[in-house]
Symmetry: C2
Subunit: 497 residues, 2 copies
């Protein structure tokens, strides 16, 4: 929010009583609010825009926009920051050259590991960044209550508290089952958000017909899981905005926007998101800029595509007074670009400070500073010894469920198989590529270990483990033998993830 | 807001687990959210829309829409209810046949007379109506502090409290001087609204250039005072929505929308309001329907004009989850009309109940029930006696200021004139149409009386008084002699206004 003295400084500058901090002259203002492109001069005071038509204002610093187009910074409307595998402090150098100045983030991973204190620690750090993070407050921590143990939980009271933070813009993606089963906790989380004037983000994977209607009736305002035009239209028809997604694995832009262009679909309730996109791909391919450019290639007008990346998103999330257009009082997050047919920011300003020059990040990455305890979240109560992974059985052979993996797919199936019983325990069969798979509780809570089998992993010796295991981030370990699986888990505890 | 059990009923109906209350079959759904018009069947449960495509749902009651177009109810985005001179209970019969189901109202008059208790009394009554009232919380009560005495005040604490009410959608029109003078009280009222996720309505009468920029920098989100296209564009360019007004005296629609049509102006940040429109004119000419039809005549598409009257307004005021489209979970406020080129509602549903049939209001007007004290707000501490109006002066003649009236205009000027002094007091001169004009404090506070003179009123004998005197509603009385002026004031006290 803006303080009283900041507000007065802004008004004084607007009245011409004090000079602007900065004036960017000779630009073509892409005014997404009025839908026009006109020559202008952007006046800035205290990091905020005074007016995009500031030619007759004095300024302490004047820079030449060299006739470039001036756009508002781009907004990623749904992203799991944690999934970038990079601390927020380091993301600036990836995002800003691409023109993304706003991340609407649901940090459900840190909440699953470290609960409300983790959420607060992350929030504390984001105030120092040179891009904006607004919070989509995680609605389902734990994601699968009763199935796995988590390090933290965000119950109704926690969610209600976080929703009051000024940086909280919405209740984060609520999965349909919780709405369709009409579970009090989740419906009350929806009401908590609505009561605070905030929206609720949807996540309507594959839902159609009456289930989709019921989900919309649950108060969900959007969906970022549409995979084709037909799905997108079915959401729009039910009053849900569509967050067109183009992430590392989910590629939904082309099928949706081809339909939008062909049918001349009203684009006001369309916007962009990445959901999960890895840093190497942001670096090579791009971020929201990639989507804007692709939308233009497909036949949307540059104004439409830029509105999707800016004002449409800001209005949907009810923060159009802060970001999303080059209008008075909004943060001075500005992209200067040479070509509206292919947008590649030459310069980027964040809160009126230049952070990208000649397409290169020139800001100073803030030093990540998190509390010590946040680096110490792996505590094993079991899993240190091979015997912890032992699955006892009688006889020579046991019938077991085996998870079947498919290369490059998120989906899997299960089949029944028979495995040998050796020394009273079911043994994996690496010869047939059937490994033991275990989830080891790592939050120091109860030492639970779940054991199963997996086919298609391809490991011949030893074991492999990860503490990135969505959404609860217990240790998941696949192995050919119990001792190596225990070694993996122990090593992750030593490394602290 | 929706209760948990209402939400569950809605979801159950959406899942088909319980029948709909009502299904309106065979309609062409004007879907302002997706921008499409398609055949549909509107399903309703608990007064809310389940889906506009409900053909495969069971319903307790089915009505035939006879192929008519189904539109969301219209929204008046800025209106002073009190200026209709009719209690809200009686407005239904005027508004609903015209298709207006939502009034966004700034009840500054009652606040000036009766303060926060008056505001609350009005609010209590509006819950019984068959149209929606949302509150634009009066930002300036008193309007002219220090100049006149009011019966009530809404200070920062009062305004902050009212803004938390779920029916409060914004801080009501803040006049520019208070922003440009950077007065703490008003800037803090703006922040109070923004902090609660609500917007601030503007009132930028005639402001241009740096003053307009400064006003926009004050956090004001819109303006309803634009008189021509040029003014409207100047607001849009600065990120302010334009509430196109067509009231009893202010007629701004044609000049603004002609420009919009000629220039193909982006219409998403345009909407409609009446501000002040008298009941006889609503009855004869119409309300928001009149504006929608005129917009279509001028060349906007029916979809654009209807969006201005519905979803544009709902989104601007951040209540698109409640009203503004025929989408799941929104109130079932529905107009059925024969012709999209000239919209004249045949049937109107409010919260799923039919209130207009064959264009006639068929609802039951609720009985107005207000506390007794609200009918007793005129208390004179002086003004009962002719001598209270006496303006003493020495000599034979006195030089005085005289207010000049112009027929049918709100503006006036002042000139100096000479009046006779009789028995030591300045005397009006009815021969030259110069009357005495007084404002008599009627809130029982201090008995102040302000006395001046007015020319052009035309009264030859006696006196005339009114307790409707914007914005503070003291008694204003013009007269040819002091005794008749006192009689007028006394009579108004007896009548209680």
């Amino acid at each position: 929010m803006i303080s009283l003295s900041e507000r007065k400084d802004l008004i004084r500058a607007a009245l011409g009583q004090v000079p602007l901090d900065l004036r960017i002259d000779r630009v073509q203002v892409v005014n997404v609010f009025s839908g026009t492109i006109e020559p202008g001069s952007i006046g800035i005071k205290g990091g905020r825009i005074v007016t995009p038509y500031a030619a007759d204002y004095d300024a302490n610093v004047v820079v030449d926009g060299q006739g470039r187009f001036a756009l508002p910074g781009f907004i990623d409307t749904h992203v799991h920051l944690d999934s970038t595998l990079v601390v927020p402090e380091f993301l600036s150098q990836l995002l800003l050259p691409r023109g993304t100045t706003v991340m609407l983030s649901d940090p459900m991973e840190i909440a699953n590991v470290a609960g409300l204190p983790g959420f607060k620690a992350l929030f504390h750090s984001i105030e120092k960044l040179d891009y904006h993070i607004f919070l989509e407050v995680s609605s389902r921590v734990p994601t699968a209550p009763g199935l796995e143990t988590t390090g933290g939980e965000l119950d109704l009271a926690d969610v209600s508290e976080i929703l009051t933070w000024p940086q909280a813009v919405s209740l984060g993606e609520l999965d349909p089952s919780k709405v369709l089963e009409m579970r009090d906790e989740y419906l009350l989380k929806v009401e908590a958000a609505l009561r605070l004037g905030k929206i609720c983000n949807g996540h309507a994977v594959g839902r159609v017909g009456k289930e989709l209607v019921a989900y919309a009736c649950g108060g969900l305002a959007d969906d970022h899981e549409c995979v084709d035009y037909e799905e997108a239209v079915s959401r729009l028809q039910l009053g849900m905005a569509v967050l067109v997604r183009e992430g590392s694995t989910e590629r939904n832009l082309d099928p949706i926007l081809k339909g939008v262009v062909e049918n001349g679909t009203y684009s006001h309730h369309l916007m962009f998101c990445t959901d999960d996109k890895h840093p190497d791909e942001i670096l090579e391919e791009g971020h929201i800029d990639f989507m804007v450019n692709r939308a233009i290639e497909l036949g949307l007008t540059p104004m439409q595509a830029i509105q999707m990346a800016t004002i449409n998103a800001a209005k949907h999330f009810r923060i159009e007074h802060l970001i999303g257009s080059l209008s008075p009082g909004r943060w001075a997050d500005i992209l200067l670009v040479d070509d509206l047919q292919h947008i590649s920011p030459n310069q980027v300003f964040f809160k009126g400070k230049i952070v990208v020059e000649d397409g290169k990040y020139i800001g100073t990455l803030p030093k990540p500073e998190y509390p010590d305890w946040l680096y110490k979240t792996v505590t094993l109560k079991s899993g240190n010894s091979g015997s912890d992974f032992r699955l006892e059985a009688a006889g020579d052979q046991a019938e077991v469920w085996v998870i079947d993996l498919f290369p490059d797919q998120i989906i899997n199936t299960r089949t029944q198989d028979k495995l040998r019983v050796i020394d009273g325990a079911v043994a994996p069969d690496p010869e047939r590529d059937i490994l033991k798979l275990a989830v080891v509780e790592r939050h120091g809570k109860n030492g639970n270990i779940g054991v199963s089998f997996v086919k298609g992993f391809g490991l011949k010796n030893g074991a492999l483990a990860s503490s990135i295991a969505h959404d609860h981030h217990n240790i998941i370990v696949a192995g050919t033998n119990d001792d190596d699986m225990a070694l993996c888990a122990k090593t992750i505890e030593e490394m602290q993830g």
